[in-house]
């Protein structure tokens, strides 16, 4: 393949000066904010309101893919229980909204904090494990959260929590069924903040530490990286993003139940990360947007939908095993084996 979208994009960015970069970023942001205008065009999703699809699944899954990417893509920690943090955020919103009458924006920091705390607890317990073992234990953790919720009458058991309040009207934007774009724009703002945070971290100490851990954690430690601490940070950062997604999800759908937080969600989000290109935020965003949009777009195929979806996945992973936009690598590697041990 001679044309390489990632390098093409990276080159344009590299050649641009500061103002051109601001301009490009602005154009992208404006374009993203005006996506609801595409309703009733070719891109419209049959059977589901387009603007709602922009929020869920597209926006939410993109956000969570970005969070998981820090854990899996940047630091190389295979986390199969990411849905747990999403659940913690959502349940925080559901419970605190009802009992303390807090609105969504007040719950948001608490939801994020609790998700981070659960990330810290889980991480402290399991991050001494590596590779497959870590994957299995995190998978178990995700299921434990769901099953605990399922068996706790205090938080609704299998009935879940209903009548969660929508966010209050903010800056003149109404959050209800008639104004789905408000949710989309909110999640977009959170996504933009997350992207900025990840980009800043990537070029500084934490990003280097994560990258070093992913490539060779033994050497990283011998070069003075406190690998345990930075793995924990990666987990906690990912958890925070998942928690934010959960809070917003609960207040939009007004209803949550343990059924929503199944293992499949973790697997899906991991698929977005891998499909888009592990470690590259633009790839991950592209992967998440495409993979959460396509099933909605072809919903008219009903049962054949997931078949087509799976086929797309298989074909893509054969053509581009590193994902749509793989991480920065300016040359094809010949000596991968040598470095990885």
């Amino acid at each position: 393949m001679t044309f390489n979208l990632r390098d093409y994009g990276a080159n344009i960015w590299a050649r641009a000066n500061k103002w051109q970069r601001y301009l490009m970023a602005l154009v992208f942001i404006v374009a993203a904010f005006s996506l609801p205008l595409l309703e009733n065009t070719f891109f419209n999703t049959p059977n589901t309101p387009f603007v709602s699809v922009l929020f869920y699944p597209i926006g939410l899954y993109t956000l969570m893919a970005l969070g998981l990417n820090v854990v899996v893509g940047k630091s190389g920690l295979l986390d199969l229980g990411y849905v747990a943090f999403y659940a913690v955020g959502a349940y925080t919103a559901g419970l605190l909204g009802a009992s303390l009458k807090l609105n969504t924006w007040e719950v948001m920091p608490i939801g994020i904090a609790l998700a981070m705390l659960s990330g810290l607890i889980l991480g402290a317990a399991v991050l001494r494990l590596k590779g497959d073992y870590l994957a299995i234990v995190t998978l178990g953790f995700g299921e434990i959260i769901r099953i605990t919720a399922l068996n706790s009458p205090a938080i609704g058991a299998s009935m879940g929590i209903t009548d969660i309040a929508n966010p209050p009207t903010t800056f003149g934007f109404k959050f209800d069924l008639d104004n789905p774009e408000s949710y989309y724009w909110t999640i977009l703002i959170i996504i933009i903040i997350t992207i900025m945070a990840i980009r800043i971290l990537s070029i500084r100490r934490p990003g280097r530490a994560w990258e070093a851990i992913r490539q060779d954690e033994d050497v990283a430690e011998l070069m003075g990286v406190n690998i345990y601490k930075y793995k924990l940070w990666a987990f906690v950062f990912g958890a925070a993003v998942g928690g934010a997604a959960g809070v917003l999800f609960a207040s939009e759908s007004m209803f949550i139940s343990p059924n929503i937080f199944k293992l499949e969600v973790s697997i899906f989000i991991l698929a977005f990360v891998v499909f888009g290109g592990m470690g590259n935020i633009w790839g991950v965003i592209l992967g998440a947007v495409l993979l959460s949009y396509i099933p909605e777009r072809i919903r008219f195929l009903s049962d054949a939908r997931m078949l087509i979806f799976g086929l797309v996945l298989i074909i893509m992973m054969n053509l581009r095993p590193d994902g749509l936009l793989p991480r920065k690598k300016r040359e094809k590697i010949k000596s991968d084996k040598k470095d990885s041990k």
Binding site: R205, P206, R208, E211, Q215, E221, W233, E331
Partner: protein, 259 residues
């Protein structure tokens, strides 16, 4: 030389199952010297490095660095206290640039963490620019500054080896452990590397060197210690070690008539 001892191994024993990789090894490295650690393959040289840097916990014995024991210290703390190493087979962070490789190491003495980086705290900003300046200086010192923005995996082999040394120096060590830095080099490259190691020593580092190339070892080291089957059989000035019958025996075997 009456320089103070910087690293001291006391009765160090490292046992893997039934194999004694190191058997009661005593060794002291003096500040400011180049001490070469030689011996046939499998003699336990790299094991010494692994035990000193905390990769293995010694079965017995003690390691003193600047007079205090390294026992129970985690690897990154040992590095932070002033010991850094390179690896026998190059183990760079291949997907990072040369500069980033060194920066990862210089970070060990930085205090700002994730929050500082995320919110661009003054300290994080200050440390980041100081680190970049220092990393660039190290690359210049080693002579690969022109490579600083290239990915480590794309560097020529010789520069990868030099970058390993640069990365170790990034941790600002007092003691530098070099594990066969000249492996795979041709004679002129070896000579240049020898000069580099001397230059490193002259700028205030202490070097413990594992090397197979005897002419390089004899040229640059102040002292040579010889390991054989996990035991130290000699520890002396280079030319005295060369003539030591035990050393000759370890390398060449016993003459037929002597047995």
């Amino acid at each position: 030389m009456t320089n103070p001892v910087i690293l001291e191994l006391k009765d160090l024993t490292m046992q893997f199952g039934g194999v004694k990789a190191l058997n009661q090894v005593n060794l002291s490295v003096k500040k400011g010297e180049i001490l070469a650690l030689i011996g046939p393959n499998g003699a336990g040289k790299t094991t010494v490095f692994n035990v000193v840097t905390g990769v293995y916990k010694p079965t017995n014995g003690e390691i003193l660095f600047n007079g205090s024991s390294l026992k129970g210290k985690s690897r990154h703390r040992i590095t932070k206290s002033g010991i850094a190493r390179t690896f026998q087979n190059v183990r760079l962070f291949g997907d990072m640039t040369a500069l980033e490789n060194v920066l990862t190491a210089t970070d060990v003495h930085n205090k700002s963490g994730l929050m500082g980086a995320m919110f661009t705290s003054p300290r994080s900003r200050r440390e980041e620019s100081a680190s970049r300046k220092k990393a660039q200086e190290i690359l210049e010192f080693i002579g690969i500054a022109n490579r600083s923005d290239q990915l480590a995996r794309n560097l020529p082999y010789g520069d990868q080896r030099r970058l390993e040394i640069a990365r170790a120096m990034g941790t600002n060590p007092q003691l530098l452990l070099l594990d066969e830095p000249a492996a795979g080099f041709n004679p002129s490259e070896k000579k240049a590397l020898g000069e580099l190691i001397v230059k490193i020593r002259n700028s205030g580092y202490t070097v413990l060197l594992i090397e197979h190339d005897m002419s390089l070892v004899m040229d640059i080291s102040d002292r040579v210690a010889v390991l054989d089957f996990g035991e130290k059989i000699a520890d002396d000035l280079p030319k005295l070690v060369q003539d030591n019958p035990k050393v000759i025996e370890a390398y060449l075997g016993v003459p037929a008539d002597a047995s």
